[in-house]
Chain length 342, copies 2
């Protein structure tokens, strides 16, 4: 008789039309066979990554991928510890990062896991600055944004995981960096902790006219690079202020995820303005740069070690909180990287 | 006493809100002093170029340039013959291309003129395939579109001056080329004369749903490169069908020029889709490539000489017709390059 290991799972059960929450999931307890196959590793999850892209995958239509299937555990990035191993590269107790989703214990093939060295960097950095958000920020900014010293970089969602890294990478690149975020606390964080040249609290502006004035004041020579995490009105305002040959990097459109994923909402047409300014737009996705993680780590890991690049972590306690945590992303409530501790 | 040369001019006098026409111009007869300065050339215009960009410059707001001033002759490309010269590079009777605008005779500095060799290519090609439209099509497609053999290229405004060249350059690049144009005659021209693989008559489709079906049928593997001259509904439909890592080249948005230049109209938001497909949009303008004309001529001029690349000319007779000819551009009435003969 095979021994069994109990695992709890959040099963993605119903597609959200608007904001995602607990009502779209079933919490189940099930068992994993304790005997794993050659090459496999069993892990216990310690940290769950909660990221905006997960909401995109819940659309009914194909987005950057086919829709997340119903009836399986919610997919997502995880950091955990090995509890069984039939892969010589992993020993019990080892820290690993993988993509095993919302389950307290999971089995994965060793090839799908990355071994982490907790002495090199805190293990949660594998879900942050040295993981998917870091890769997104680094390659999105450097490859698609092509920042040059002295240029003006505007970042929307600037206090989020990717945004706050883009702010710091932009400063390293010699840009004048303007962050847009919601609320005074986030704006103070951008300036006082991250070193942004200016921060705009979009919530403090009554309409797009007022926000336009704020962007103009913060960017007197226009916007050379716009790194966009949010879309919607904020992006309409910034794109209207782009400078000649500006680069617009589309990393996320989080303002649209709770409503506009299946049928695009209306907004001002922007292509004529792109033409006049001979500007470019580039959609980017972290996975396209996965094979180049070594290149990014070589540059960014020493900055992390030296404390020159930081990523604030907002930690939610308890596996039970995962659906609510995911839903909270579109509410702009969190600073930096949102993690759920198992 | 200085002798005088009579010249007729179309003075750009009133900004159009919608379609431009004769009511926005004053036709005047004035005199040029017959004594020109050292380094100057006087020419008599033979051919006037009529191009969509001229309507953009008539917007009240800055577009790719400051607005065209009121009270001066309409600017535009011209081919003419030298009638006086104080520049040793130009002799009386020489054919030249310049930017002297809507006047029957004009004085220009020699540096602002290009000498044409009528034995090398018909002089009107300086306003077409070997001039601004050719440069736009060539660099827009090759530099921003980056076409690869076997890829699907969709061209809107495909029977226009730039569009019909993009169709042919796309075929040279080994693409499967789909042209979108208005009316059966233009579509037959695209297939039978230019060699496009497919042509879509947007006027034959009752709505965007029907047009979407037509684009899907013509592009079963999606759209890798979209060269856009028109904007609006047609572009909404094509962008929804772009393939992964597609390149969208924004060359013109002529559907918007008669109404949407000063305040952008609404349309479906497209940035989320750009993100999912990791696609790019690049606005392009011919003047950015002017220093590279030699590079383009080296490749394209032999094709023109061999008859491998053609540009149909629609010729309107008479200087008096210039304002109406410009207004006709947005009506989609013309095939190929629109010229007015003096």
């Amino acid at each position: 008789m095979t021994a069994l290991i109990e695992t709890r799972q959040w099963i993605y059960a119903r597609r959200p039309a608007g904001r995602v929450g607990r009502e779209h999931y079933d919490l189940v307890t099930t068992s994993l066979p304790a005997d794993i196959a050659q090459g496999e590793v069993m892990l216990e999850a310690r940290w769950f990554s909660v990221d905006p892209y997960m909401r995109i995958q819940q659309a009914e239509r194909d987005t950057y991928d086919v829709p997340h299937p119903l009836g399986i555990a919610q997919r997502g990035g995880v950091v955990g510890q090995v509890i069984r191993s039939r892969d010589a590269r992993f020993a019990i107790g080892d820290w690993v990062a993988g993509y095993t989703g919302w389950q307290t214990s999971a089995v994965a093939h060793g090839d799908a896991l990355t071994r982490l060295d907790p002495d090199e960097a805190p293990v949660t950095t594998a879900l942050g600055v040295l993981g998917m958000p870091g890769r997104t920020a680094w390659f999105g900014l450097m490859e698609a944004g092509k920042p040059k010293p002295g240029e003006t970089l505007v970042v929307s969602g600037a206090a989020g995981a990717v945004g706050s890294l883009v702010v710091q990478f932009g400063l390293k690149a010699g840009c004048r960096v303007v962050g847009i975020a919601g609320g005074e606390a986030k704006c103070r964080y951008l300036i006082e902790r991250l070193g942004a040249h200016a921060a705009i609290d979009y919530k403090a502006h009554r309409d797009v006219t007022a926000l336009t004035a704020a962007v103009r004041i913060a960017c007197p020579r226009g916007v050379d690079v716009y790194f966009d995490n949010v879309g919607g009105d904020i992006t309409d305002v910034v794109i209207a202020q782009i400078a000649r040959r500006a680069r617009v990097v589309i990393c996320g459109q989080i303002s649209q995820y709770d409503g506009g994923l299946d049928v695009p909402p209306q907004g001002p047409r922007l292509l004529a303005h792109m033409l006049y300014q001979r500007a470019s737009i580039q959609g980017i996705l972290a996975r396209d740069y996965t094979p180049r993680m070594d290149e990014m780590r070589r540059i960014v890991a020493p900055w992390v070690k030296a404390g020159e690049v930081v990523l604030h972590e907002t930690i939610v306690e308890g596996f039970e909180q995962l659906p609510e945590a995911l839903g909270s992303l579109s509410q702009g409530a969190n600073l930096g990287k949102l993690l759920v501790r198992a």
